[in-house]
Amino acid sequence: MTGVVTPNAARFVGQSVRRREDPRLLTGRGRYVDDVTMPRLLHAHFVRSPVARGTLTGLDVTAARELAGVTAVLTAADVNHQAKSMWNSMMGPDAGGPPPRVLADGDVRYVGEPIAIVVASSRAVAEDAADLVVFDIDPLPPVVTIEQALAADARVHPERASNLSGELPPAPQPELDELFDGAAHVVSEHFTQHRYVCVPMETRGLVASWDPWAQTLEVVAATQTAHESRAAWSRLLGVPEDSVHVVMGDVGGSFGQKMFPGREEHGVVIAAKTLGRAIKWIEDRTENLIAGGHAREETADVSLAFDESGALLAGKVLHVENVGAYPNLGDGMAASAAAIVFPGPYRMQRVEYAAKGVYSNTCGHCAYRGPWMMETVVREQMMDLAAERLGLDPLELRRRNVVQLADQPFTTATGVVYEAVSPAETLEQAAELIGYDAFREQQAAARAAGRYLGIGLSLYIEPQMGFGILATEAATIRVEPSGKVNVLMSTGSHGQSLETTIVQVVADELGVAIEDVRFHQGDSAATPYGPGTGGSRSAAIASGAAMQAAHETRDKILQIAAHLLEASPDDLELADSVVTVKGVPDAQVPLATVAAVAYLNTDAMPPGVAPGLEVSSRYKAPFIMFSNACHAATVEVDTATGAVTILRYVVSEDCGNMINPMVVEGQIAGGVVQGIGGVFYEHFEYDESGNPLTTTFLDYHLPTAADVPDLEYGHVVTPSPTPGGYKGMGEGGAIAAPAALLNAVRDALRPFNAKITSQPLTPEAIIDAIEAGTGASTEAPS
């Protein structure tokens, strides 16, 4: 169907149209899940394990149940047998993993694991009652780190043969071995990345209500997807999909965490069914930090082989991910996606990508903006390490290896085909914008004066998956009898501005004013099925569906108008909600008249054309599509204190045609600052007993307005071959920023030969790296 969509005149697309969402959100009239109430609403609170691994005995909820205001205290014995099945549509029912459970039963496997659900007349009473729940845990030695998971006799899940959640074994590749054996240079390094987490400003939450007479479940949820939530709770309760209705209002960020319902949400749904009541659960911040889903704790051993000229020949990676106890998606590994995109923007002949996921007695892994980003974190650091070894500037080494537009279609070493990506162009634009050569001079002068400046590049290609559950998106467009337009889609915007951007796309494609178009999403009963918003899919795939449906709607409008005007549809144009015969301005009919005929005067319809002006159309995305960008950062390191100042930060992005440049830059900025947070500020820490140490915002530090520079943007526009020429770009900022920053700090500390291969780069870590460096620290002026 892709080929039939030809863009109508662009009036709104390409403009930084102010957001439709903003007035309500700026005036306190947004409707987030905690703003929702219902008749006889009850409130839930979880009793959670304070121990990482141990045997659970003596659970006694009697005193809690007796507290005034408490409706129920539910334990595994009440809840777990009601969970008929727990799986998600992305991985299917056979995704493996430990036996899922809603509440801990017999043992606990991470701090924060839910043990009981208290349901009471208020959240405060529920928390009071939780304090009255009695239990004993005999602690067992926990598995916390990747090293422990691989070495320990202790198993996180006794039902599993080992602590491996999954494995991508290396495949024998004689050609790869030959490339390494014959290479002029082989550069190898071990990298570690620390655990950091999504931290949406709104925590998880839902209001679930079971009607025992209708046997239906109504849920208002903080989620990215109404339909997948519906599927999950239909499976959970063993009730038909159409007896579950999920609605989402405004959602206060997610970044992957709310893509799939977790065990707490499942527990609240079961409690609602058990009690036949409406129950609200709003996670508090400490719960969100310790139990909301974790990410990014990974290691990688990487080797790259180069020839004499600096041409990249081949790469080998062993990637290990700590997926916690209960990852919320299959084996919790992002390695299979990382393996596909590891070659990134570079020509290389062969890649071997092996990976392991390991369970630990920690919070389970969840998706976080660019879950596979370790591939870019390590590849882009390797390019800088290799440049140093080869005696080349990192910019020059990238120039020698980057895929050019003229090379495309280009098949990567992992078999992916690039079309219409511009890594070389963004590399040059970023270098130009940041004044790369001038900075090198400034850096040399600063070093002579005892100041340590550095520059870092990070080049990447961002995939948008178009297969499995992510393959399609649909739009229903209803031109109402007055000619006003409603668009209904499965998306679940939680900051992505779709109420504005989809309206821009539809208004242009139909030929109506944006004021005449309204967008509706996040309702499993009212909108067509779809996977929701995530995976950088909405700009390209949801817009593709919106364009396709709008195109078909326009065709029908022109068919009806042609009949009314006694003209051929081919001679008509639709603009400003009026259909006109081209070249005959007086021969026109308003869209409102066409719509009124379609519903109210159907005998005036053209013969053979169905009455009504409602179109539902499903768009199939390509298997995989790509956007790309180059990040360039300059920093100054204070070698006395270890403090890093980001001097400038430039992003050159190519996401094809931009629907709304303001929104594009907003997405870049949010991602970049999550990368800044990850590298310099954020670290979710456990002690050796598996106790979380960063359980509030006093300990888990997010960057603030005082910590970030003004970002600078460049845009290269290489339209995709898909409808509208749009490409998804929601995750790239977070994927590429860490390597740019790590490379900039390493570059600043080159005089010290400081080893920068792990994160976070706290002041202490930087001082340690300087002191451990083989560079003459005596060079460092006091």
Partner: protein, 161 residues
Amino acid sequence: MTDARVPVTFTVNGEPARLTVEPRTTLADALREELDLTGTHLGCEHGVCGACTVLVDGAAVRSCLLFAVQLEGADVTTIEGLSPADGSLNPVQEAFRNCHGLQCGFCTPGFVVSLTALLAENPAPTDDDLRQGLAGNLCRCTGYQGIVAAARQAAGTGVGQ
């Protein structure tokens, strides 16, 4: 927990509020649950994120760190009270919209209230004044780019003067 409730009277957005609350009820919970003013959001409930910021006698405070019973006689303004009744936006809100100073919108009421207080106290802030003044509010979506731009624009319009 005893059910002893305490009466408290204060002004919210120009209207008198007469509540009877548990002593442990925070101002944030009283605003949201007793007065249905759900524009004040709770992002951490431990005084760091600033999403729950309101004005008390003109000063920006974190409503999660005050008990409602401490408000006797005080004058409280929430995001609802800063919003024009005619459906328009005030200049600070307008600047946020112009500059894409919000994405998911959850932290936004706190930022609008904080910036309003900042500009009232310091009508001609430097860039550093703005960044430091907004550093008590956390945003996870925007990378602060649109927020700082909005603050500059609002300061430039002289809304605090």
